[in-house]
């Protein structure tokens, strides 16, 4: 049967398959389908750079055009992964520079990228089009200059939230005069001022520019110059949104905005002077995505702006918006799908704003399409969580951070088990959950019983015993990523559910009670897992085996043991009792 279709026909059929899952399924049908599919796979996504090696990828997929890869575990965002842990991209770039001369796209998240890597990319891939570096670090503006200067067909350069050593703004001037291909430029994370005339000319000569995210140093008075040269913009990130209050600056700005009829997304807004916000009102009715999470303005100004955006689907904002502002949001923005409220004063001992659980309840009541929430607050109740769960059963992502660890229901002083239990019971499509507050093993029982589609779970300062962890590992069928900090989970649940870990991408446990002995045992039992003990107190075997490790990172892998471990990481190998890096 397999021989009745010529290869070319099958290849053509497979070219319509874009999802990795579909392509993986196709590969399993028979050997010839596996062969045909691997030669025509163009996009590869690697969720953990250490799960596989460059050689293995290149051997299987010889004609890749686009690579997307993630490195450090998520908790690295909160400084929990010590510097030097790993996630270096250079070996990948080196291998691909020889194997994939036609590579067009590289998208990386939480990886260490050097100028050397950027220079190699610029030199090796003649048709390079897309570079997205999300939360990456290790490179300077010199590396960016290489990319700008050498990638003739560059379409996207996006440095979102990366930590770049900013030597100067001169890199932007390296785009040659005949570069007209830019579609997306995100330089919002850079500190230095770029040459404004170079930026102006670049924007003017790229007719397909759709996304432009400026950095803070681009002054507001000059923004109209850019908008007039790119009226087709769909996404704009402003620079600092402040200037001397002058009517000509205001009118120029308002006029420039009115010309941009395609604008759907706005971000930036550092140092906002509220008087200039009305200049944007003409575009507000078309705005679907608004990131005000750096805008340190008070609730009345926020409300005035947000109420203009009737078609808003995504809002990121600081807790200055307060409960009253969220109530207004709920009344105006009926298409809202995603809300993120960040803390303006995360380390303050006392609340500085009038934002409580009530704000989130209002939004859950008023916004029928709400499916994704990230909410920082200082008090929560089971009643509120139950209400939210009942209001929004189609919730997909729910991340709640009550700033005080182990804070109970502020009304009843009970744990928040019932509230989060209601979330997982009602929201059957829930894929991502982050929990905080006072939580016992009970909540994990609810999660294990109900959260059947949950893929990512983040836990902190929660639970009473190993039973909690056991509920999660044994019950959550779809679990891929589990990250835990400061919970009394130990050896028993981990070892009893060792096989589960091979069905997941990764497990992170820090400041828990997993002993060194258990880590060794896990490493021995499960050869297809990398069990990394991360401990800055020195070699684990200089302490008793029962001593808990500081941090544990476990992930499935088909690669050989990684060769780039720093001195504070120990790999629990199967063949040796203890292996040092």
């Amino acid at each position: 049967m397999a021989y009745s279709f010529p290869e070319e026909v099958l290849e053509h059929v497979f070219s319509f398959l874009s999802s990795d899952r579909d392509r993986n399924a196709v590969s399993l049908v028979c050997k010839s389908w596996y062969e045909i599919e691997r030669w025509c796979r163009r996009r590869v996504f690697i969720g953990n750079c250490y799960a596989v090696s460059p050689d293995i990828v290149i051997r299987r997929f010889p004609e890749v055009r686009a690579l997307e890869m993630k490195g450090k575990p998520h908790f690295a965002d909160f400084n929990l992964v010590p510097e030097g842990w790993g996630a270096y991209v250079h070996p990948w770039i080196r291998a691909m520079s020889e194997a994939y001369p036609l590579l067009e796209e590289i998208k990386l998240k939480r990886m260490v990228v050097t100028d050397e890597s950027l220079e190699l990319i610029a030199r090796s891939f003649k048709n390079f089009k897309v570079l997205v570096l999300s939360s990456c670090e290790g490179f300077t503006t010199d590396g960016l200059a290489s990319i700008a200067a050498n990638c003739r067909n560059l379409r996207e350069l996006d440095l979102r939230e990366s930590e770049v050593e900013d030597l100067s703004g001169h890199w932007l001037s390296h785009f040659p005069d005949n570069c007209t291909s830019l579609v997306s430029l995100n330089m919002s994370c850079l500190g230095s001022e770029v040459s404004f005339s170079a930026l102006e000319r670049l924007v003017a000569r790229c007719p397909n520019l759709r996304t432009l995210r400026l950095n803070r140093a681009v002054p507001l008075e000059k923004l109209p110059n850019l908008l007039h040269r790119a009226p087709q913009l769909v996404e704009l990130g402003t620079g600092a949104y402040s200037a001397d209050i002058r009517s000509d600056i205001f009118s120029n700005l308002a006029e420039a905005f009115s010309v941009c009829k395609q604008l759907k997304g706005l971000s930036g807004f550092w140092d906002v002077v509220p008087a200039f916000l009305p200049a944007m009102y003409s575009v507000c009715s078309g705005i679907t995505s608004l990131n005000l999470s750096y805008a340190t303005i008070q609730s009345p100004d926020l409300v005035k702006l947000v109420s203009q955006c009737r078609n808003l689907q995504r809002l990121w904002v600081l807790d200055y918006i307060e409960d009253s502002g969220l109530e207004a949001l709920a009344a105006s923005c009926k298409d809202l799908q995603e809300l993120r409220v960040f803390p303006s004063d995360p380390f303050g001992a006392e609340p500085n704003v009038a934002l409580t659980e009530q704000g989130l309840v209002s939004v859950s009541e008023g916004c029928p399409k709400l499916q994704s929430v990230l909410y920082f607050c200082r008090q929560m109740s089971n009643a509120a969580l139950v209400t939210i769960a009942r209001n929004r059963p189609e919730m997909i992502r729910f991340r709640l951070c009550i700033i005080e660890p182990q804070a109970p229901d502020y009304l009843t002083l009970e744990p928040l088990d019932t509230g989060f239990g209601a979330i997982v019971e009602n929201c059957k499509e829930l894929r991502r959950l982050s929990m905080t507050g006072l939580l016992t093993d009970k909540v994990f029982e609810y999660i294990g019983n109900h959260a059947k589609k949950l893929e990512m779970l983040s836990i902190a300062f929660a639970g009473d015993s190993d039973l909690g962890l056991h509920h999660v590992l044994s019950g959550c069928k779809s679990l891929r990523k589990l990250e835990i900090r400061d919970c009394p989970f130990g050896d028993k649940a981990l070892l009893a559910n060792a096989a589960k870990l091979e069905t997941m991408r990764s497990l992170w446990m820090s400041s828990c009670s997993v002993s060194f002995g258990a880590c060794k045992l896990l490493g021995q039992k499960m050869p297809r897992l990398n069990v990394e003990v991360i401990d800055e107190r020195g070699p684990p075997d200089s302490r008793p085996e029962s001593c808990p490790v500081e941090k544990l990172y476990v992930y499935r892998t088909v690669a050989e043991r990684r060769a780039d471990m720093p001195g504070f990481v120990w790999m629990m190998d199967g063949d040796k009792a203890l292996a040092f890096s």
């Binding site: 965002d77 400084n79 939360s135 803390p343 995360p346 380390f347 660890p405 900090r485």
Partner: protein, 173 residues
């Protein structure tokens, strides 16, 4: 206790050298969530809480820069230092030593307690004077309003122990 908001200007006119006079140092530890472990040897510094991404923390208020004034007892002029330029206490102490040409703030603390003439302290958001090194670095940068390198002889109140700064410094090596 009077709270000064972020960005408030404090203009102090004094007679005499800046930084002089007695200061009461509160040695009680700020509530940095490590209370959960009840102290003791294995006290974990509670890093990364609340879970606000490092990138976001740097950028919300200050443009990434965190300039604070530094005064040193006996020095005629105050200086300013950018806390965001340093990754931890040891880097900061080194920078302070270079600024004032006073080597030994950090070094002397490592070799022998109580030997160093100077002690680095800071004023936090609540207006309290705190010994450098008690709280995790990120938390410190968020709450530090200004620094002072104080003559040990001027310190009253509970005994100022260099042990804690020592611990913080040694953790970073």
């Amino acid at each position: 206790m009077e709270k000064n908001g972020v960005g408030s200007l404090e203009t102090e006119l004094r007679l005499g050298l800046p930084g002089g006079g007695e200061v009461e140092i509160k040695n009680e530890k700020k509530r940095d969530f490590s209370d959960f472990y009840g102290g003791g040897e294995n006290r974990n510094q509670v890093v990364g809480w609340p879970p606000v991404a490092a990138y976001r923390r740097k950028n919300v208020f200050t443009g990434g820069k965190m300039y604070v004034k530094v005064s040193m007892d006996g020095a005629p002029f105050l200086r300013k230092v950018d806390l965001s330029m340093h990754k931890g206490y040891s880097e900061l102490v080194k920078a302070l030593e270079e600024l004032f040409g006073c080597y030994g703030i950090g070094e002397a603390l490592k070799d022998e307690e109580e030997k160093c003439e100077y002690v680095p302290i800071y004023e936090d958001k609540d207006g309290d004077w705190m010994l450098l090194g008690d709280v995790p670095w990120q938390m410190f940068t968020e709450s530090c309003k200004r620094l002072r390198i104080m003559k040990r002889a001027d310190a009253s109140g509970v005994g100022v122990h260099a042990k804690d700064l020592l611990k913080a410094l040694s953790k970073e090596e």
